[in-house]
Symmetry: C2
Subunit: 551 residues, 2 copies
Amino acid sequence: MGALRLPSLAHLLTPSAAVRATSSGAHLRPATLSVAASLSGGAGRGISTQSLAKEAPSSPAADRKASASPECAVTPRSVDFNAWYLDVIAKAELADYGPVRGTMVIRPYGYAIWESIQDYLNVKFKETGHSNMYFPQFIPYSFIEKEASHVEGFSPELALVTIGGGKELEEKLVVRPTSETIVNHMFTQWIQSYRDLPLMVNQWANVTRWEMRTKPFIRTLEFLWQEGHTAHATPEEAEKEALQMIDVYKKFAYEQAAIPVIVGRKSRAETFAGASRTYTIEAMMGDRKALQAGTSHNLGQNFSRAFGTQFTDENGQRQHVWQTSWAISTRFVGGIIMTHGDDTGLMLPPMIAPIQVVIVPIWKTEDDKTGVLNATSSVETILKTAGIKVKVDDSEQRTPGWKYNFWEMKGVPLRIEIGPRDVANASVVISRRDVPGKPGKDFGVSMDTSSLVGHVKNRLQEIQTSFLQKATSFRDSNIIDVKSYEELKAVISEGKWARGPWSASDTDELKVKEETGATIRCFPFEQPEGQKKCFMTGNPAQEVAIFAKSY
Amino acid sequence: MGALRLPSLAHLLTPSAAVRATSSGAHLRPATLSVAASLSGGAGRGISTQSLAKEAPSSPAADRKASASPECAVTPRSVDFNAWYLDVIAKAELADYGPVRGTMVIRPYGYAIWESIQDYLNVKFKETGHSNMYFPQFIPYSFIEKEASHVEGFSPELALVTIGGGKELEEKLVVRPTSETIVNHMFTQWIQSYRDLPLMVNQWANVTRWEMRTKPFIRTLEFLWQEGHTAHATPEEAEKEALQMIDVYKKFAYEQAAIPVIVGRKSRAETFAGASRTYTIEAMMGDRKALQAGTSHNLGQNFSRAFGTQFTDENGQRQHVWQTSWAISTRFVGGIIMTHGDDTGLMLPPMIAPIQVVIVPIWKTEDDKTGVLNATSSVETILKTAGIKVKVDDSEQRTPGWKYNFWEMKGVPLRIEIGPRDVANASVVISRRDVPGKPGKDFGVSMDTSSLVGHVKNRLQEIQTSFLQKATSFRDSNIIDVKSYEELKAVISEGKWARGPWSASDTDELKVKEETGATIRCFPFEQPEGQKKCFMTGNPAQEVAIFAKSY
């Protein structure tokens, strides 16, 4: 679970308090917040939206932005990363707090990012031979108890249904925190012989874990995810599957989300409750904390032995199946926000962005208006036809400057401006979100279909590449090789990641965590050549491990 | 709720009993069931899968099929509709029973039908201006109590979480049965002025209703659905939206599912708990019972008044918003099964079918095998490239005859057979699932790309059209106009739908229900011309109503 420095909402939001807050009229929408209220932004306090509108201390940095367009102003990322994150989520309308402590409402703009993730992965899962299906979310309590380390890992986090249809239930029902138990219960009924294997399924679902310290997207009481579950005839096949799926996640992270994750194996202490081996992709956030962004577990025969999931092999022998499970959740949306972005707000990689291009038409006179709007509409059609996600902001209530700030804060990769002079020249101005000022602008781009489409597609590709490059060099400059525990402590205290040879005990690992707040994020697949000596014990070491503080 | 003649699983499946059943080795997969067990099929008893493998009385009709291919044999639809339905669900691997009473596991083949539904509707929802998002599923109990008729309608069906993270909760949490309350709680925070309206969102989610009498897909304790929620500035806009969405559902039913639903308005007694008006699409199942297949509610200001969801109008006045909600669920999958299909199993309309064409290669000698499999692979590629959903069944463990039976039972619209002679002639044999024997076969269809693709596409279109025509004439021949209560009783007792002028009281409506088992399914939008007299009271009537027994 890493260092617990996350803001706690627990004391602020009992359900009944939340209801009261609402009926007393606490409102969040930027357009109607007073400037002062919109600037309080929960800076550094991780407070709930309900309190956002009630308290009004302001930070100097935020005040500077206020004069321009208060609704778009977020606490600068360089001033307070956590406040920036919460501001971006609120102002860009990505998510909101639900009435029950620790729950989250995913708003359309945030949900559209999740849909981008789903669209990509869903295709990859099917290409690799998996079928979608759906398991019920209510699990008999007795199921959870069957696998010893599983119950130990999950029992403190369970939500339990005890009343149904007005009656006390004979057996408490667990609201699924993950589905390995019920999956095995069903697999025992579907798997008879080796011919039924491999069995490879996936579900897109909600899961519930009663977390004490929550943070939007990163750790919420209920979240959305996909969970893959497979059963195989041999340990080799299960291992191959677990590795294949962590590779699917890695490719997604690099190619779509522009997040240069480190792929590796978890330490024993950090392995999933019930797994033999856990593979992970670890991402470095903008504050250099690590985020576990996806995991793939080789479950061995742990669950199949607990549930009796057996098959008859080719020799007529009964054997327990070998299993995997793997998941990516809405947490990944938080990872995208915290990897990219700058002082003025969100920055979305083009492959993930719900809106890739925003068009802002500009006019002063009614005469100009018709021509500008016609050109806007034509440019919109050209880009949509080319498969580019376009949004036109032609509202008359806001100035172009306000719109620029607003869509920059929302992280739209490209902006197209169309004014009367552009119409006269049959050209447009294109601005990159990630390159401020003139260097990011292309003037006089022809409205001609092929040149416009080509230009926009090239720019989007450049931005995508640039995001990954920037994140990679940031990552690499913040991973430091260490040769001793003292060096590790220094590196961690600077907020960086430490990489060093490790063959010490679980107890030593716990000691590092207690003394520095850092955990082993993974033993990376990419290992340096040569002999290694454990920086903690001086004994020979097979591998280097990466240590970092994490979300 | 209609006549309660549905099978009850309640006494069979307490959670702990389910666990025992599994560990004692009750298995469902056709390939390993004994013939006798596979034929018990729960005929007429609506029993659970757990009991399927344990009891073995057989019906004569089923025995006849058994000699051919026991795993594919279902109770003929003409012999016992309910047993047929449960058999089809089990044998075609559409769904299975979950360990908790009344819950359902949706297996890949059944889930793929749901994905077809999702894919179509998701596009339509976005085209009509709605955005997807996600609301938490835990709702404070106090929310449910705020709207009087809502709590009355839903409180008997609630599942309640009372323990979270090992502690008794201060306020019980409802596992969402529907989301109007939490939606309004959030809308109060997002809606300030008329400029924020309309607000139009949708979510794909699971919902829980503690039903006592369950039936796979049709009524389960947990089910999947989409729920749309909108807020508008005027009652006219809300009404227009409610009508627009029932029309989206209607088009989906006709054009995709080939189900000729009747669209209309619910009676007061059958209106959604909390709605001012409920529109419905009512489908006639193969046993002539009605299925409410989708609903769209004009909620008026009922929830906005209960939750204080207000906006400032153009004149600066505070007003409550006007709302709608609308939903289609996994119940629709049950509707597709029960509308189409015949004695030998499922029949899926091509637009919905997860597999539109199954290819069965046929060979005897190893010499023939290579040529046949090459041709099969080439035909598969041609059809896939044309966007047709193809499955090749080249397993060597089953005979072609077994495969024919199996894929017919699974409802695949078209089968392509490729044998050595076909390879020699560069042609294939194509068989329609819905036309048995020679009349449904096309011999010597050329393997040439354009003629093969054209042929297959035409046949799929013909099947789609034929399904709708067949269902429409079945529906029309089973809706009978009535002029008196006596006539209605006669029609209902024959299992048909009765249509007659109605302006009687809610009490009279209840009387019809108690005496005949039929309810008002709807006041159809399509009304006969001319003056009408209520068949119950003799008073003038504005409209005819349709009465039927229902699921």
